[in-house]
C-alpha cells in the first residue's frame, strides 16, 4: 500500500448548517462506517475527517469550520481539488438481525455515525446540538430523536439526558456514540450502569493516520489504527479516555 493522497475534484458542496458544509467527491474502494480519511490541501495541511456520505462512487465529508484548515476547506468551490488518503482505522461493528440499538451523535460527531445510521437496521438515532441551526441531516433518516441544549428544537437537554430516558424504555443491545469526549464518557458510564455494550469513536490529534508516529495515543491505543472506534471492553483499559489528550506537540493536557 502507498500512503499518499490521491487528488480528487470536489463535485458537489452542500451547506448543512451555518458552519458545516459537506464536500462530495469521487471515491473508489471500501469504507466501513467510523473509518476516516486524511484530507490534504496542498501547501496547507492535512487533517482527518469521517466520510458522512457514501453512495456508489461518491463520498462526502461534513466539515465544521473551526481553525485554519477547515476555514480554508470552506473556501473551496465545486471543481477544486483536494487530496484524500485512506480509509484508515477500525470502524463500528454492525449488529446483524433486528436487535435494538441506539446511535448517538453529538455536534459534528453526527458526521461519524451518519453512515452507520444508514446501515444499522432497527436503530434509534439520537442527535444533539447546542442549538437548532446546528442540527445535521434533518431529513436523512426515517426517524431521528433530536435534542438541543437551549431547547430551540426537540428535546431540551443533552443527548445523554435523552439517552437515559430511552434506555429505560428500550432493550438496547448496543449503543454507538460519537461527539465531544465528555459526552462519550457519560454514555460509556451510562452503558456500564445498564450493562449495555457501547462503541464510541474517539478523536485525538492525527498525523500519520497509519499507526507509526504515536501522535494519536490514548492509553497505548493508537486512535488512527487501533480505533477510532473502541468498545466498552477496550475503554475499560483506557484510563486516558475522558481525562487527557495529547496536543500537536505531544503535550498531555486535561480534556
Amino acid at each position: 500500500m502507498i500512503e499518499q493522497p490521491k487528488i480528487v475534484k470536489i463535485c458537489d458542496i452542500k451547506d448543512e448548517t451555518p458552519n458545516a458544509k459537506t464536500f462530495f467527491f469521487e471515491y473508489m474502494g471500501h469504507y466501513d462506517p467510523g473509518q476516516f480519511v486524511m484530507v490534504w490541501i496542498p501547501l496547507n495541511d492535512e487533517k482527518p475527517f469521517t466520510l458522512s456520505y457514501i453512495n456508489r462512487n461518491i463520498a462526502g465529508i461534513t466539515v465544521l469550520k473551526r481553525g485554519n484548515f477547515t476555514k480554508t476547506l470552506h473556501t473551496k468551490k465545486i471543481g477544486d481539488q483536494i487530496g484524500i488518503r485512506g480509509p484508515y482505522g477500525r470502524g463500528y461493528s454492525l449488529i446483524k438481525g433486528n436487535a435494538a440499538t441506539c446511535i448517538v451523535g453529538g455536534g459534528i460527531g453526527m458526521a461519524s455515525i451518519a453512515c452507520l445510521a444508514d446501515k444499522q437496521e432497527n436503530a434509534t438515532i439520537v442527535q444533539g446540538s447546542r442549538t437548532m441551526p446546528e442540527l445535521l441531516f434533518r431529513h436523512r433518516y426515517k426517524e431521528m430523536r433530536l435534542c438541543t441544549d437551549d431547547g430551540s428544537f426537540g428535546y431540551k437537554g443533552t443527548t445523554v439526558d435523552l439517552l437515559r430516558e430511552l434506555v429505560g424504555k428500550h432493550d438496547y443491545q448496543k449503543i454507538y456514540a460519537c461527539g465531544p469526549e465528555k459526552m462519550l464518557y457519560k454514555v460509556y458510564e451510562l452503558c456500564n450502569e445498564h450493562h449495555i455494550e457501547c462503541e464510541v469513536s474517539i478523536e485525538r490529534y492525527i498525523k500519520c493516520g497509519f499507526g507509526i508516529c504515536g501522535q494519536c495515543d490514548c492509553s497505548g491505543q493508537r486512535i488512527c489504527i487501533d480505533g477510532p472506534v473502541f468498545n466498552s471492553k477496550d475503554l475499560k483499559d483506557m484510563p486516558d479516555f475522558g481525562k487527557t489528550e495529547i496536543t500537536k506537540s505531544g503535550k498531555r493536557i486535561s480534556l
Binding site: D45, G211, G220
Partner: protein, 306 residues
C-alpha cells in the same frame, strides 16, 4: 526445540533480544512504550525531546511510497519539562528505555540530559543526523566530526549513562563522525538515521506532498545503505553499534548483525509488519538460527567481515 539465546548485552544493559524501537516511532507516551515492550521489543527509545515544546511540521508528516517511507515530522515533542512528567516508573515498562535528546546548541543538549537524569532511562541517544528539521541535525551542521565531538563531550560530562550517538547515512565522512563520537566518550553508535532528504511530488497538484516538502527516507530503500554504514563503522570504532534502517524481518536483522551491529532498531517495520514486528522478527531470527546451527545471537555479530 533447540535452545536459542537472543539476549544481548549492550553497554551493560541487558536486552532480552536485539530488537529496539527506533526513536520517533510510537515513543510519544509511556503507555505506547509499554505496549511496544509487550510486543516483544528488547528495548524502546522515546521520541526525541528538546528543551522547549515543538509542534513540528505541518501534515503530511509521514507518507510511504513503493520503496519505503518518507517523513518530516519536524521533532514535535512536548519539551523536557513535560517529558519528565510523562516518562515515569520506567522500570515497569518491561524493557530498558532509552532517552533521545536534541538541541540547537551544546547547552540545550546538556539541559535536556540533565532534565531527564532522574527518570530512570537506561541510556541516552543523541541524534545529530536529522535531515529535515531546521536548527537540528544535518540542517544545523551537527553531523560534522567537530560538532559531534563537542556535543557528545558536553553530554558525557554530565551523565554516567551510556550515550549512543546517532549518525546520518547521508554524509561521506561517516566513519570520521563515528570516531569523533567514540573519542568524545560515546558508549555506542546508532547507525543510521533517515536518509536524504528526499522529496515526493504529487503530480496532479504539482506540489510536494510533505508539509515540509522534503523528508527523511527510511525502510527498504535505506537498508543497503544502512548495512554498509554499519559495516564501515564496525571497522572504524570499538564501541558497539545499534544498526537501524529498513529492518522488518528476521533475515534483515541477521544481515545487520553480520555487518557488525550488536542490536537493531526498527522504525518503518512497525508499519510494514505491524506493531508486533518485534516478536515476529525475533521468531524469524530464532527459526533461521535453528536451521543454520546457531544457538547464540552474539555469534553472528560482525561475521560478514573477513
Amino acid at each position: 526445540m533447540t535452545d536459542v539465546k537472543l539476549s544481548v548485552n549492550l553497554c551493560n544493559i541487558r536486552l532480552s533480544n536485539p530488537t529496539i524501537l527506533a526513536s520517533g516511532i510510537l515513543g510519544t507516551t509511556r503507555a505506547l512504550l509499554k505496549r511496544v515492550a509487550e510486543c516483544g521489543a528488547g528495548a524502546v527509545t522515546i521520541k526525541s525531546i528538546s528543551k522547549e515544546a515543538r509542534e513540528g511540521h505541518n501534515n503530511p508528516t509521514v507518507i510511504t511510497y513503493e520503496a519505503g517511507m518518507i517523513n518530516a515530522v519536524g521533532y514535535s515533542n512536548p519539551g523536557v519539562e513535560s517529558a519528565r512528567i510523562e516518562f515515569t516508573n520506567l522500570k515497569e515498562i518491561g524493557a530498558p528505555v532509552f532517552a533521545s535528546i536534541i538541541g540547537t546548541c551544546n547547552d540545550e543538549f546538556v539541559k535536556v540530559a540533565e532534565g531527564l537524569s532522574e527518570s530512570g532511562f537506561s541510556a541516552i541517544e543523541i541524534p545529530l543526523s536529522c535531515p529535515h528539521t531546521p536548527g537540528f541535525g544535518l540542517l544545523s551542521g551537527q553531523g560534522t566530526p567537530k560538532a559531534t565531538y563537542d556535543i557528545t563531550s558536553a553530554v558525557r560530562r554530565i551523565t554516567h549513562l551510556p550515550i549512543f550517538v546517532k549518525i546520518s547515512p547521508s554524509i561521506p565522512e561517516i566513519t570520521t563522525v563515528a570516531k569523533a563520537a567514540e573519542d568524545a566518550g560515546a558508549s555506542g553508535i546508532t547507525a543510521v538515521n533517515s536518509m536524504g532528504p528526499g522529496m515526493i511530488i504529487n503530480i496532479e497538484s504539482k506540489k510536494p506532498v510533505l508539509g515540509f516538502k522534503v523528508g527523511g527516507v527510511t525502510g527498504d530503500a535505506l537498508r543497503p545503505i544502512a548495512v554498509r554504514c554499519v559495516y564501515d563503522v564496525y571497522k572504524a570504532v570499538k564501541i558497539p553499534i545499534i544498526g537501524v534502517g529498513g529492518i522488518s524481518t528476521g533475515r534483515h536483522a541477521i544481515e545487520m548483525l553480520m555487518a557488525g551491529a550488536v542490536a537493531v532498531g526498527i522504525g518503518t517495520g512497525v508499519y510494514t509488519r505491524g506493531i508486533d514486528v518485534f516478536s515476529k522478527v525475533c521468531a524469524e531470527m530464532k527459526q533461521w538460527m535453528i536451521e543454520n546451527g546457531y544457538n547464540n545471537i552474539n555469534d553472528l555479530v560482525g561475521i560478514a567481515h573477513d
